[in-house]
Symmetry: C2
Subunit: 266 residues, 2 copies
């Protein structure tokens, strides 16, 4: 089925802690939700450890996939295992340079005192621009490469979210040519998911950009409960709504015909 139409986006998550299971990757779902809202189709997520070659691989893979936007989180701090910028530079074949604007951001954070580890946070691929970090110390990075706009943000969620809202979102809004979206939620009681499946499949075929996802919700007085999340897209709000109504009407009629108690709940 694929995802909703729109420009393609790939999310890259960097950090050993994600792969050894010390940290749950909430950044991926948060960014996925934001990108989807803005009209992007999040095509895949790539999680790699703190390893230069694997980080470079992740960026090459994202750009090869034709992503208009790549957002990476993690690995921007001062320690030796923070190497996302350098991994990106390796992928791009670009030189790592100290960005003067970024250095000034770091200098201000520390009241002027610069150590080697602090200067490291201002190093980025030549041609990149720093993104201000209103919460922590490490600036983010924005750079264009082979038709993709790549953003590097810190892994600490509070910093990542603040930088996304303050700096990244406006840029993404320009990049997104968002279609209009309409959504509905349907509740069906009494029909097992396996019997509802052919109806759901047919409903999703009613429009090229109509999507139906079924979520089993256990059972109620012994009867299986399903929630069906219907999404339709169109070039105008009217078109999206009209496609949505068509799918909803079909689902209510056909599931009812098969014995389900079914109604729209959202």
């Amino acid at each position: 089925m694929g995802l909703a139409p729109g420009s393609k986006a790939v999310i890259v998550s960097v950090g050993n802690e994600l792969l050894i299971g010390k940290v749950v990757n909430t950044n991926l779902s948060w960014l996925g939700s934001k990108l989807t809202e803005l009209g992007f189709r999040v095509d895949r997520g790539i999680v790699v450890p703190d390893d230069l070659d694997l980080i470079a691989w992740a960026f090459r893979t994202a750009v090869d996939a034709g992503a208009r936007v790549v957002i990476a989180t993690g690995g921007l701090g001062p320690t030796f295992d923070d190497m996302t910028s350098e991994g990106l530079a390796r992928a791009m074949g670009a030189e790592m340079v100290v960005n003067e604007e970024a250095l000034e951001m770091v200098r201000r954070k520390y009241g002027g005192e610069l150590t080697e580890s602090r200067v490291k946070m201002a190093r980025m691929p030549r041609g990149a621009k720093p993104i201000p970090n209103p919460v922590g110390t490490a600036p983010g990075v924005e750079v264009e490469w082979r038709g993709s706009v790549i953003f590097l943000l810190p892994g600490v969620p509070s910093e990542m979210m603040a930088m996304f809202e303050e700096s990244v979102k406006a840029k993404l809004t320009q990049l997104a040519r968002a279609l209009k979206k309409a959504e509905a939620l349907i509740r069906s009681v009494g029909l097992p998911e396996s019997l509802a499946a052919p109806v759901v499949e047919s409903a999703a075929k009613l429009g090229e950009h109509t999507y139906v996802k079924s979520h089993p919700k256990g059972s109620e007085t012994g009867k299986p409960v399903l929630e069906l999340h219907v999404t339709a897209y169109g070039v105008s709000e009217e078109e999206a709504l009209s496609k949505l109504e068509e799918a909803v009407d079909y689902l209510l009629r056909e599931l009812g015909r098969r014995g389900a108690q079914v109604h729209r709940i959202g």
Copy 2:
């Protein structure tokens, strides 16, 4: 730095809901932790939507990366958008066939009644074996391809975890040639992460399989607090412990010399 030594594993997560941000991918961190415990090096995680080509791409990518083990979650249910088995078959160039043992598992779950959607759950690439599902209805899948052992498990965490514990873990234990592991936790108060960084870097260089990860923990009465997680591996427990002690002693001495109050807390 890369991850701990051991056989390489890749985790594949399938589902639109993960990429549009409706669900946080706790399966990845749970499996990452289990695989790491068993001695595997989780090399990367790949998240793809319910899309045949992208699912096939994820499996090809994992196997091309030289993974000894690939575990995928999600997309095994009865609905049209459950297509992980078929995506794997497409990657392998294998035919999709109804597995008789799997069909018997599904039949027993439903008291004998089989519909097209139910039979679908017994379809898997030719040569694969079903994995019993003690909680839900869809069997898992185990198949070998180009030197990788590939496991497909459901996306529902309770089903995934039960199947992992009951069937997958024993197989992985055979596959893992686990090195012995030793761990310590050090707390440092009074030194900013950027000043501790060179010491941490040197400590990690003491042994080929010694790893130090620093976690900033905010500040206490105005002084920055860091926790350093030290891990060392060896072919015996003695070797792992001896490498660990070497790194811990170094960190306590060198951080103390730079003015931190530092002690081992775990």
